[in-house]
Symmetry: C2
Subunit: 412 residues, 2 copies
């Protein structure tokens, strides 16, 4: 995270701002409502004129005009006078209460001119007061917030025709692996289609980045170096997939060296994704993710997403951590902390989490429904259904400040 | 829902398919893996040749070749022979186990030619078998599923260079209300900026529709009728906001009548949003939402989102209902079922839900953080913190089949 940088600000049309990250605090520059208004269709009156009214002793009011929503009434309401007022319209001067239309009865033969009222009103009754929803100066959404429908409404209310948003970081993806076929190629013996790249493109979009796919590496080292150099010049962060295991054909260390990139780490005590490598070059990060689908998936969420969020001004850039009950036994012990793809369920007010079926680092099918990762600390024992565990939520824009403390259960 | 129709299919490039709805079942047309392969870098051997091996009695294997990922080895592995194999590469004929590189020791002076092994292997050890991840014919994601990063990976694996996706329904928005200012206009006495339209545009996007904003109605009935007719010709469903209360200036009933639209309902026993109106014309729906922000918001989620999801082939089109614990008292009783904007929290494995602060139907600020609606059935009593209540989840693509049964708590 020391190498992650904040992005630039760009202005986007309000109607295209859904899902973008706010580049500055959204502050109310006026009260809402900005004037005392009527929440109902009715009549604006002076409450003092209703004080003596009872069912047996109704009051009679003279209608001196009407106020449509958006209009302003320029006469002061006097004794036993009333103004017909529409929902949302500004209260006329002199009046301090609104009586709902349904509670009034027009006087026969004088429709629209006079009405009868059979109950008293308190001062302030049925009025939405200036500032009661939002006071001027209130921060309604902080810098780095994701724009929801509610925030879009607030932006409109406060006149943001153009919204200051974080310019999305451009995240490049370069695939490696001579076993990889393009998606539109027919299957061949020994080969598989390149699925990781398309998974990552979607993960980039979900995280708030702009994905740029550079295709597959060639098998020639010199060409690879040029491909990485060229790709890096077009992006804010470059992901490579595959080629980072200890196999004989691993070009990445040679590429990093040739480019003069500073390798920050190239091994992590976790499963899957132990061979995740991160290097820095000219204030840009190069992230080498494993070629195994689930290792690649996990590596992205743990190491790339926070960089994207940080770029987008998010203040809690890491994957959101919450607690949930393990829904079934996970008996396989592992010396390293394990991140198990899982689906979060809500059962009668309880959060439970179920591993998404088949869980080997090569598995693709278990990823379809996965919306969480269970954190299982390394140790010599397995885990039983009903235990409380930490989970990382993936369909989330709230994030965590730093989720790597106090992981449960701990078997140390 | 009887008037909701299914959409058309269009093909979108896989790299642009994130968040779209699948227009057909995604079925595995081959096994995954499609061949027996090695999950590690190591040597492929015959397990029978290792049966007698112990630490004190190591076996020696002759390396007869190597298999890079994506390559196929054409010689059958024989007695005490081994083939160097890379992660993901296809197992050579004859071999039935893989020994990890770390467990072998090259014989000095014969590097790359012979190695020593000190433990026996079982048949099938360290092999990812054909079909163990996914069997051919498995439905990996049903029609109507939203494309996640995991589903994008599956689509790539099975060769979907172009993805059959539901063509997004075009949802039009027309605002009414002479109190409305455009977002870029300065505030004026008695007027407010049009926030509902922009909120709905974002809600449409979240739900999976394509939003089209037609601006504000004029104050002239004839022009309004033409505006609605023209807008309707360009969309699959048309939303109007405001103008549906009992105020004097309500044009909508007249417009519906003039257009010959069939009004399906124009009042609902709920708060907010009681004046939501839905009409049908030529197999298209016209939805009249209240001008009040929260009524508008709720009305969209309950009445428009299911139509959008149905259009996108989703099988559980309604807003997803789950149970949660009420986080604070909600003392105001109401004769009608109330939908309270709220924020869902995860507390130590428990789902709790907190009303989003100020909750009048005119409130805008409480919408910013709202990601759920609490359903509070109508009755003569309020609700206490700790009670289990039903909540509707808004940041969700899973949906509910029909959420309107067995609402808790019930005070009938």
């Amino acid at each position: 995270m020391d190498f992650a940088i904040r992005g630039k600000v760009e202005f986007v049309a309000l109607e295209n701002s859904y899902g973008r990250f706010l580049a500055e605090d959204l502050i109310a520059d006026h009260d809402v409502p900005s004037f005392d208004r009527s929440p109902y269709d009715g009549f604006a009156v002076r409450s003092e004129d209703t004080a003596q009214i009872t069912r047996m002793n109704p009051g009679v009011f003279e209608v001196i005009g009407e106020i449509g929503a958006g209009s302003v009434f320029h006469t002061v309401v006097g004794r036993n006078q009333a103004v017909r007022i529409m929902t949302g319209a500004q209260l006329p001067e002199g009046a301090d209460a609104v009586v709902m239309l349904e509670l009034t009865k027009e006087i026969a033969g004088e429709e629209g001119k006079r009405f009868e009222l059979k109950r008293p009103l308190k001062s302030g009754e049925n009025i939405s007061f200036q500032g009661e929803d939002t006071k001027k100066g209130t921060i309604l959404a902080g810098k780095g917030s994701v724009i929801t429908p509610g925030i879009a409404a607030l932006l409109a209310t406060f006149g943001y025709h153009e919204v200051p948003a974080a310019k999305k970081p451009v995240i490049g993806v370069l695939a490696t692996g001579s076993e990889l076929l393009d998606v539109n190629e027919p299957l061949q013996p020994g080969k598989i289609r390149n699925s990781n790249s398309y998974m990552i493109l979607a993960q980039i979009e979900r995280a708030g980045g702009e994905a740029k796919y550079f295709g597959k590496f060639s098998d020639d080292l010199e060409q690879c170096i040029n491909a990485v150099r060229e790709a890096l010049s077009q992006v804010d962060l470059l992901i490579t997939t595959g080629g980072v295991s200890v196999g004989d054909y691993d070009y990445l260390p040679a590429i990093y060296e040739k480019l003069g990139a500073d390798v920050l780490f190239n091994k992590i005590a976790m499963r899957p994704g132990s061979v995740t490598t991160v290097a820095a070059l000219d204030q840009k990060l190069l992230v080498g993710l494993s070629g195994n689908p689930s290792a690649c998936f996990v590596g992205f969420e743990l190491f790339v997403r926070p960089v994207i969020r940080h770029h987008n001004f998010h203040l809690s850039p890491h994957v959101r951590k919450e607690k949930a009950y393990l829904g079934e036994d996970f008996s396989k012990a592992n010396p390293f902390t394990r991140f198990v793809r899982a689906e979060l369920h809500f059962n009668e007010g309880r959060l439970t989490v179920l591993p998404s079926g088949f869980d080997k680092s090569s598995a693709v099918s278990s990823l379809a429904e996965a919306n969480a990762l269970i954190i299982l600390p390394g140790g010599t024992r397995g885990y039983q259904a009903g235990m409380m565990v930490d989970v990382l939520l993936l369909d989330d824009q709230k994030g965590s400040d730093w989720p790597w403390e106090n992981i449960v259960p701990s078997y140390k």
